[in-house]
Amino acid sequence: MKISVEKSSIFKSLSYVQSIVEKKNTIPVLSNVLIQAKDNNLILSATDMDISITAQLNCNVIEEGFVTVSAHTLYDIIRKLPDGNEVEFISNDGKIFSIRSGKSKFSLGCLPKEDFPIIEVDKLKSEISIQSQELLKLIEKTRFAISNEETRYFLNGIYFHMRESGGNQYISIVATDGHRLAKIDYESNNKPEDIPGVIIPKKTINELCKLLSDYNGTIKIDLDPNKIIFFIDKSVLISKLIDGNFPDYQRVIPKDNKNIMTINRNDFCMAVDRVSTITNEKSPVIKFRLLKDLMNMTSADSENGLATEDIITEYSGEEIEIGFNSKYILEMINHLTDEKIKLSFNDSSSPVIATEDSNQNLIYVLMPMRV
């Protein structure tokens, strides 16, 4: 194999690919990136056996071939080369891989290509097209609620499914950790029966966000109940899905929260942040007391002391005293964007719903804590 490529173009592709390679790997070939040179294209592939990323870029192929080399070492070498330099890859026998650029020369050991697991891109049952930035927004609004608790593995990802409401079809993205839930809908032309409900693992979501953030255009998603494939520009991300049943989240979203409070998001956010200074990991609770057009927030800790603050609201409902985890409520407010947000309550033991007028398709649900 002999190719010549511009540093910046390979560096970008390599950064996507190497990020899924784990630093500590018991299977040596999985620390490597597979480099294939053919038809004036360079194809880089890496996998951790759960996710696979393939990135393709144009280059000058002098001699076709393939090789596997350490992903992190190659990435570090390319990163340290001066911008604008031409980089030359040479491998004669698949055992030694040479990199030349300017006056620098590196030689890396290779592993057999045959041991590298290539995850095939098959034709899957369902197909969706969506704008990359739109999908990124949908994910960013929900992924903070993904659970990290390994025992409830079916919550370790986002639930991606189709649903019908009021004669319209929506792609719904839901994430929950059992304490809070984030749901966002996106109107789509696909029929609900065409798209299976799938749980996309957290690691895949993280890698997907990196790819989406650098691309502005339409992407294609192929999926079936076992596999999801994202075609983003010249990159392909293939991932396993979580093999479990996502809970019936619709039952968690309250339908009869009649006490609606409108509040300035920024003021609320800063007030919660101030009051939460007193809280700690053991007792993260902030007590909210809802009065007419006023909300009182209190947090108390036996060692740190007490904090209290009042904030002006627009509220005419019942007087309610309710507690929430300060970290959860802050994260929830931070993911809303309007100047004024709506919080709807039922009573002191029922979940609260947070919404905003500019995005009717977004709903956050937060479970209260005992105070």
């Binding site: 070939v29 697991p117 693992p201 109940p225 076992n226 596999k227």
Partner: protein, 330 residues
Amino acid sequence: MEIISQHLIGYENHLENLSNNLIIKSSSNSFIFYGNKGIGKNTFTHCLINKIFSDKFNESKSNLLYANSHPNFRYISKIIDEKSNKLNSNIKIDQIRKIESFIYQSSLNKLPKFIIIDSADDLNISSSNSLLKLLEEPKNNSYFILIVHQLFNIMPTIRSRCIKFKFSHPSLENFDKIIRQSFPDIKEKDISLLYDLSNGSPGLAIQLYSNNIKDLLDNLLIIFNEKNNLSKEIINFSEIVGIYTNDQFKLFLSILKLILINILKVNLGINIKKYFLSNLSDTIHSISKNINNKSILTILDYLKLNENDLYIFNLDKKIFSINIFNGISK
């Protein structure tokens, strides 16, 4: 990483039966393959999974399976500790926890998922309990194969959840074929000697032959015939075994114990000739005259009490060896 042979010698019937009937049609998702160390359970398991993948699902990537990089396959064994750069003494709980994501995620293809634990004897209490949790909630397309050398090393709660298959050591004919795969030029009499010393375990025999067992045996015989307690020969020999790795030292002690127990048998008037294929029994007969039973029992007691401490506390193997041979009163 251990290199797994892709050619199975012996166990052909087991392979046919298990691949056809048990794994896929079985009501259980967990299996124990047990038998002495080095008799080919790991090779068999790799061949079995390869056969199931290729025969039932037309999967052709057997090379990935043997490189342990197949997406539907996880191979768990003791790993090298990053800090100490030494092989861990057991399979850690983190290794078992990592299987969870493999089990709870879908399969990228139509193939079932296999997890091999080699060997389950190396599981500690925490990792055993973590594994038990996974065995208690089986997933439809995931199969556990636990390779076990000594069944009593496995927690009863794990044993009770697995279908067990016993593996006996291969016949002399198959043993010969397996050894000749690794050492084509080996002499016939050396094969008989290896068969005797390894109790028919080809894996152990290959290890013994790679570690120049013949020289070790010759040196041992010189020491047993030595008249003085702290002789130059004992010190020289102890220096040689003193630089052995733990695995090599374990091999040496296993040979020593085999010889001592057989000397004991000879001294008690038991005919040991029928248990040996090689002329090792004659050698044992000749040295048995120099050693009495009391000193053999003293050495065996010493080994029983101190062998584990040797590996746990990383004791000096040279001094350990000198102490063993000083126990022989002639």
